[in-house]
């Protein structure tokens, strides 16, 4: 997810020039450390406004994280343990699949109410999901329109029509009919879009600033790009909510300050900074000093992102497998990682699935030395006939990626490949490279899974049949369209046993890597700092955010 946010996050974490600072193990003070205090105001400092708070439109990690305070979803993640655990949020449990995972039934908890005391009903959830289909409610993830029967022709509830494949036999039961089996659908329903919206309080395209709450906090005021103030929702009841707590009286989100200024403010721990936290990662230029400072360790949160930073090789332009394999061995990942900020940025990657993604299988088909294996690369090029090749490389137009591009150029120069660098404006990067009209031989990409399952990584990045379907937002930047891979994707999608599917995805990862369609570079880590009086912050590895659902401020 998080298209714009991804690129900004990486540019931010990656501007750091110095190497060598190891990210501190910075663990969070989770709820184990004493009982939370009630009261006070938590300040959140963000350098930019949320893309949306409207739950059917939000598609960034910051927005989704803030939405957790306002909006409850059918299922949710309990992250207080060592691994996130899927639980029922609005639903009593994680749902019941039937008919080979094409029908999913959820029963809603009793006693969940809106901020005005009226009950949250199954019809409200249906209405929320239906909103996704309206062109005015744009920007959110595509799963509803992709999977719900009749989704391709439904235009949303504002036209007066309903979507028949979402049924509400009574006020506390909701049934979804999918056009294909989806074994992990109950992980999809943990995304913000699968939440209730009351028709009477829906303000359409301006709902971002008028979100009606069924969570522990509600909007008191929201001036876009300035400030969002949340206050206690007195109608919320702890007994109905297994995920959240309501500790602070107010959450004050200040928007628009420069990230570096935010870093310094929270680091200084003076005044309101003591009860402040950031949602966006520490700016790259500050990352090394902050993560290397032992006095800040207790309030630094290093959160692994369920994602991968990689280089896509266009298999329709670089057709020779040996050349692609040579590229895999030639790339010096130490200089590549250095460009992005050094070891504090994350570990070297050899698989497309990162640790923390269900289905990850550890393997390394190419050079085990991150600096590359030049001998093997040269041998492969010799087998390919020692071609003198010229390739185009697309990167974002930022300092970090300029350094990255140089690292790639140097690495590939050693095996006789001349690289021409094409920098593309960062704000439009993905909309440019995702368009099939703009193809390059090598494309830099980063990807964060929408939920921690391989199903949100491998199919979308490697199913070649999408290229024709989504010519303006093609995510398969290797332009891989291998019938064997496509068939395998279909086969795994039909598996109803998640463990079996996970194992098959791990094998698929290895199969794709044999094809050398991509060069995985690094797994990513996002680091955030909080004030000394902020407690109860849980690292959320699904959104790669510090989760605030149990946050409190010490007096």
């Amino acid at each position: 997810m998080t298209r714009r946010r991804r690129s900004i996050a990486l540019a931010a974490t990656a501007v750091a020039i110095a190497l060598g600072a190891t990210a501190c193990g910075g663990s969070s003070s989770t709820t184990g450390s004493g009982s939370p205090t009630k009261g006070g105001t938590l300040t959140v400092l963000d350098h930019a406004d949320f893309d949306h708070l409207d739950p059917q439109r939000v598609y960034t990690t910051e927005g989704s994280s803030m939405d957790q305070e306002l909006v409850r979803t059918l299922t949710g993640w309990d992250e207080t343990g060592s691994r996130p655990r899927l639980v029922g949020d609005l639903a009593t449990d994680t749902g019941t699949p039937s008919k080979g995972d094409t029908v999913w039934t959820f029963h809603l908890r009793k006693g969940v109410t809106w901020q005005d005391g009226t009950a949250v009903t199954a019809q409200d959830v249906k209405y929320g999901v239906e909103r996704t289909f309206s062109p005015d409610i744009n920007g959110g993830p595509p799963y509803a329109s992709q999977w719900l029967v009749g989704g391709s022709s439904y235009k949303g509830p504002y036209s007066g029509k309903e979507l028949a494949s979402v049924q509400t036999p009574d006020a506390s039961t909701i049934v979804f009919h999918l056009d294909q089996p989806v074994a992990d659908f109950n992980q999809t329903t943990a995304m913000p879009g699968w939440s209730a919206v009351p028709k009477a309080h829906d303000t359409g395209s301006t709902y971002d600033t008028h979100v009606w709450s069924d969570g522990p906090y509600m909007i008191k005021s929201y001036t876009k790009n300035k400030e969002l103030v949340l206050v206690r929702n007195t109608a919320w009841k702890q007994s109905t909510d297994p995920i959240r707590q309501q500790n602070v009286d107010e959450i004050d989100v200040k928007l628009g300050q420069d990230q570096s200024a935010i870093d310094q403010q929270i680091k200084s721990d003076a005044g309101t900074a003591q009860t402040s936290i950031m949602q966006w990662p520490i700016a790259g230029s500050d990352l090394t000093t902050i993560s290397g400072d032992p006095s800040l360790k207790s309030r630094l949160y290093d959160i692994p992102a369920p994602g991968i930073n990689y280089l896509a090789i266009n298999t329709t332009r670089v057709k020779d497998l040996k050349v692609r394999q040579a590229i895999e061995d030639a790339i010096d990942k130490t200089t590549v990682r250095g460009a992005f900020g050094g070891s504090a940025y994350g570990d070297y990657a050899s698989t497309m699935l990162s640790p923390g993604i269900g289905g990850q299988r550890k393997f390394n088909l190419y050079s085990t030395d991150p600096a590359g294996d030049l001998t093997k690369a040269r041998a492969l090029m010799k087998q390919a006939g020692n071609p003198r090749l010229t390739m185009s490389l697309a990167v974002e137009n930022t300092t970090t990626e300029e350094h990255f591009a140089d690292a790639v150029k140097t690495s590939l120069g050693r095996i006789g490949i001349t690289v021409n660098i094409t920098p593309i404006d960062a704000a439009n990067y993905f909309s440019t490279v995702d368009n099939v009209k703009n193809q390059y031989d090598l494309t830099w990409v980063d990807w964060i899974a929408d939920w921690p399952n391989a199903s949100t990584v491998l199919p979308v990045l490697f199913d070649g049949r999408q290229i024709a379907k989504l010519p303006q937002s093609n995510q398969d930047l290797s332009y891989l369209d291998d019938p064997a891979v496509n068939a395998q994707i279909d086969k795994i999608a039909k598996m109803t046993d998640v463990k079996q599917a996970d194992a098959a995805y791990g094998a698929l990862d290895e199969q794709i890597m044999k094809d050398a369609a991509v060069v995985p570079l690094m797994y990513m880590k996002f680091s955030e700092l909080a004030g000394s009086k902020v407690g109860g912050v849980i690292p959320d590895p699904i959104l790669a955010e510090p989760s605030l659902v149990h946050a409190y401020v010490k007096s």
């Binding site: 595509p142 301006t206 600033t209 876009k224």
Partner: protein, 330 residues
Amino acid sequence: MLRYLIRRLLAAAAILLVITVITFVIFFALPSDPALLACGKTCSPSRLAEIKHSLGLDQSFLTQFWEFFKGLFAGRDFGDQSVRVHCGTPCLGISFQTDTPVLSTLLGDFPADLSLGLGAAVFFLILGVGLGTLAAVRRGRAADKAAVGLALLGVSVQIYFVGLLLLYLFVDKWQILPASGYTPLTQDPGAWFQGLILPWATLVIVYLALYTRLTRSSMLEVFAEDYMRTARAKGLSAVKVVLKHGLRAAITPIITIFGMDVGSLIGGSAVITESVFGINGIGKLAVDSVQNSDLPVILGTTLFAATFVVLANVVVDVVYGLVDPRVRLA
């Protein structure tokens, strides 16, 4: 005078119309697509077409321009499917990004630029004219060289350097001032003042040189005039000679420049200053809107800034007539 004023205002309106057309044309030439940005990831062609339609981007250039122009005088309704949003006169459109009316966003950011611009302007005018007069009166001597040298130094350094240096010294190191930023005057006058001291200082340091040198050279020209010699010969006090007779005549070019500077400052041209000091003003809004291909906001900020510059010029012309008896407004 009245006829003059009306003619100038009509000319101003014509200029603004031309600026609107040019901005519209430039936007259409840009390669980025706001509908695609709004659509998000995994955007199917049919979805993209729907969103294009709901944003009105599938209409011809002339239709879009006409809709916008009409809206300025008659207000507009948006959203053909969801709850209709009404945008009152003058309607500058609804932001593609935030779905809020552009005018209300501009008016919300305006007080920050007004405080920043006017405050800095008052200081750099008084200081600039003062230093320039001093330099002219003490021509050739140490005071002259010091004043001009100092001013030159100020204009040579860059805003971002001065700004960051001041922040480092006054906020981080010596901790004399709290973090800079804009607090509304009505909310907390003390915080308003304290938060703006450093941004004002930065702007003053940079703008000072221009006013100092301009005043100095203008005054020197006036000093060479015969009537100044007459005034001195008649025995008028030095102060009266310099200020009442000298400055009043020399002020014309200074007013011209000052008008344009104030107009552009309050219209939001202090982008770097806003960015360095964390002030959410129109400059920052303009830069963000260009990055997001948010046409309504781009148009809105351009028109807003242009309006102030143009109006400032009208005011300047009127002030000429009042200050300088040699100017007769036709």
